[in-house]
Amino acid sequence: MDLGLIYSIEETPAGLRVEMTMTSPGCPLASYLAGEARRAVVAVLPEVADVEVVLVWDPPWSPARMSEAARARLGGSSADDGPGWFSV
């Protein structure tokens, strides 16, 4: 949650639907982390019948989605977070 990878959590007729992203579309951990996210939800809410985790790329993740706590831990500058080749 601190990195802002979870975009939404919604109740559905079947259970819960989680939309999440990765810091990069080239991240090989996508499938693994989606499974971990599902396990984390099930651990907290075992009564939910079905937890669907969906990977989305739009809008792309940017550092602006990080929590203040995560920013403080990782340091760095207050860069422009807008779209563009050289913006982060």
Binding site: T23, S24, S31, L74, S77
Partner: protein
Amino acid sequence: MTGSAPTEGAPPPPPRALVALSVLSGAVALAAGIAGGLLRSGWALPVAPGAPIAHHGGLMVCGFLGTLIGVERSVALGLRWPWLAPLLSGIGGLMILGDLGGDWALRLILAGSVVLLAVTLAILLRQVALFTAVPVLGAVCLVAGNAHWTAGRAIPELVHAWMAFLLLTITGERLELGRLRRPPTSASRALGLLSALYVGAVLAIPWMPGPAVALAGALQIGLALWLWRYDVARVTVRTSGLARYVAVCLLLGFLWLAASGALLVAIGPVEYGLGYDATLHAFFLGFVFSMIFGHAPIIFPAIFRVPITYHPAFYVPFLVMHASLLARLGGDLVGSASWRSWGAAGNAAAILGFPAVLVVTGLREARRQASEG
């Protein structure tokens, strides 16, 4: 939280058969490549010396690392067609070893690198950004290097293209994570410029080796300094456990990258020999294998679906690698074949010991959890 239109369903786990075939062929290329390295450094081994000695570099870079990176990218995209990249390079490596198919072995490896280039372009199209563009430049260099290889050029002429493939692939990955530290836009521009100039220098090496090698070496130092300055490892090295271990691997790797660049500037274009051995192994073992040692505990669970738990024993192969690499380069620089040989043996022990440490510590953790649960 904001809503958004999903562009993918739930990401599928990687197909087991494709993972197994790719990883097995990569592992065979690695074993043969290590055997070839030991034979070259003077050790007598009970294996046929032909292909492993003649194609040590190709087996390590294309058969092993190219296949491994192809697997990583295929897992990331979650599609079937990208698996052609590791399969083609893996099968090509096996054909080299079996002395099968003549020139077709190298052609398959070249075809695999073209697929890998398409994979990096597919990732770029998902998100157009510097960190997805830099690996495309790396894949272009791999295609160029393999085209030269297929055309019969000597390895010293094309090995820089292989180095550029690995350096730019790794730089793209580190840049992606470096965004967590939010480097200033000027720093991103500097990295884009360094990468573009570096590719230009590397691609020019077969035609103007003297100035192009020196420029590539200087730019390699520049990239190492950038990574040292902006990588998130500078922050995470002050933490503990796995995060600290990964950061230590990365930072030491960046130092070796700079050292290799300095050797390129100092020695210039070299044919086979001790200077060549020092320059290349500072890069491939000091830099690239540091990245592998650092990334493997994070990436392997994604590929093999097996959790890996950090253990301080991870530092043992890491230390063996760097101590033996120092011995090897010392031997190279003073002309001692004995130091070089013992250093190479230590390098091999570290590479083979690393997966052994992962397996042993993983089994201990699984037993501990079973006894508790």
